[in-house]
């Protein structure tokens, strides 16, 4: 009897077509899901704009064109100009009749915590208008501050990005709390350029560029990644995932542990708050990091930045560096925005 053999496989062409159709469908579904997520994130106002990237000339620097809200401390809308400055756009050629002042510094000059018009360099520009000592020249302040910079990176910034603007005056904002430490590879760790003394000569150490992550960030692929990250809220959220995962397993030491110890933490927090307030008043507002422990997220630095004499008590410092804003009993100071 003919035709009673085993069933034949379908022709291979049809199988490939089907697989292609399934893949196409899956890709379309992914695209629709991504587009929906993007729209939802935009509608909800969720964004993690990237403000920094690694540059071969100065190390970490501000990402040109980035824009978004800064809420980690204070609340301000931050826009990075086309040349990677937290400032408005400036012509490279100095306009006639201007007196240019370039500001170098760290996060205090970067001033993400306040609106651009409230930063000292913006206020200073307004204050100097009409200053008789400028002989009718219009003051123009250019802000080159970048968080985390020590004087080594500030020097590189001056040499490689500032001089082209031909400033009449360079203003270096020096933070005694960490600008020296930022220059030390031993204290600060890798990931940035350093100056090493070799036979009495300062030699630039750019070994951070040899790291795989730096190579990638400074490559063309890195450019494309940051360009995509600036435009896609979904990518911004996904890029936060590894950090969120780490935080899940390494709880923020600034926050008291959940459960009964919270009440203890509050009580200690109130006590600490009043003491810290007194300390701040006593110190006035001199060198910030000396008057107040820095954010406990950088807890490894707390011992080096302690205020008191003698060894820091680990548990006490963890409590003292808790954010005041997080304490339920803390009255919000009048006039403060955070």
């Amino acid at each position: 009897v003919s035709g009673s053999g085993p069933p034949r496989d379908p022709p291979p062409v049809r199988g490939r077509t089907r697989r292609a159709a399934e893949l196409g469908l899956a890709a379309a579904a992914l695209l629709v899901a991504a587009a929906g997520s993007e729209l939802a994130l935009r509608a909800l106002g969720i964004a993690y704009p990237p403000f920094y990237r690694t540059s071969a000339d100065v190390g970490d620097s501000l990402l040109p064109g980035s824009e978004g809200w800064w809420t980690q401390e204070g609340r301000a809308h931050v826009r990075i100009n086309a040349d990677g400055m937290r400032d408005r756009d400036h012509d490279v050629a100095r306009p006639p009749g201007t007196f240019r002042i370039a500001v170098l510094g760290d996060s205090y000059a970067e001033a993400f915590q306040v609106e651009q018009g409230e930063a000292f360099w913006a206020v200073l520009e307004r204050a100097l208008r009409g200053c008789p000592r400028l002989d009718g020249r219009r003051p123009e302040l250019l802000n080159f501050g970048v968080a985390g910079y020590g004087t080594t990176q500030q020097l590189l910034m001056l040499q490689r990005r500032v001089w082209k603007y031909a400033p009449d005056l360079v203003l270096l904002l020096f933070t005694t709390g960490n600008d020296v430490r930022n220059n030390s590879k031993t204290l600060q760790g890798g990931g940035r350029p350093y100056l090493r003394l070799v036979d009495g000569e300062a030699v630039l150490d750019t070994s951070f560029l040899d790291k795989r992550s730096s190579r990638w960030r400074t490559s063309r692929a890195g450019d494309l990644w940051y360009a995509a990250l600036q435009r896609s809220r979904l990518l911004q959220v996904l890029a936060q995932a590894p950090r969120a995962w780490r935080r899940l397993w390494e709880p923020d030491p600034a926050r008291p542990a959940p459960g009964p110890p919270i009440r203890t933490g509050w009580r200690r927090g109130r006590s600490r708050r009043s003491r810290s307030g007194a300390s701040r008043r006593r110190c006035g507002a001199t060198t910030p990091a000396c008057c107040w422990p820095p954010a406990a997220r950088r807890s490894r630095w707390i011992p080096t930045l302690r205020c008191g004499r003698g060894p820091p008590r680990r548990s006490g410092w963890r409590t003292s560096s808790t954010r005041i804003d997080d304490w339920p009993h803390s009255p919000r100071p009048r006039g403060s925005r955070s």
């Binding site: 201007t98 203003l171 507002a285 001199t286 060198t287 000396c290 804003d325 403060s336």
Partner: protein
């Protein structure tokens, strides 16, 4: 830690003078404003001790006073 801060600032002032660079110590202006405000308004955000808008204003005013003299000595822009 005022003693430490004062030592640092004195060191910076001396080094700047040796290099012939004008040095502006912002601490007196900030301390005076902190005393005047008596805690009613902060010059620093408590979380990470960066300047509040009020702190920035105090810094700008102190720099404006100092720069008036420095600017006069700077080369002309024309």
């Amino acid at each position: 830690m005022p003693w430490f801060s004062a030592t640092q600032r004195r060191h910076l002032a001396e080094r700047s003078a040796a290099l012939g660079l004008p040095f502006v110590d912002l601490s007196p202006a900030l301390q005076a404003e902190a005393r005047r405000l008596e805690g009613r308004e902060l010059l620093y955000f408590p979380a990470n001790v960066h300047y509040t808008p009020r702190g920035h204003r105090v810094v700008a005013e102190a720099l404006a006073r100092a720069l008036e003299t420095v600017a006069a000595a700077a080369p002309g822009a024309e």
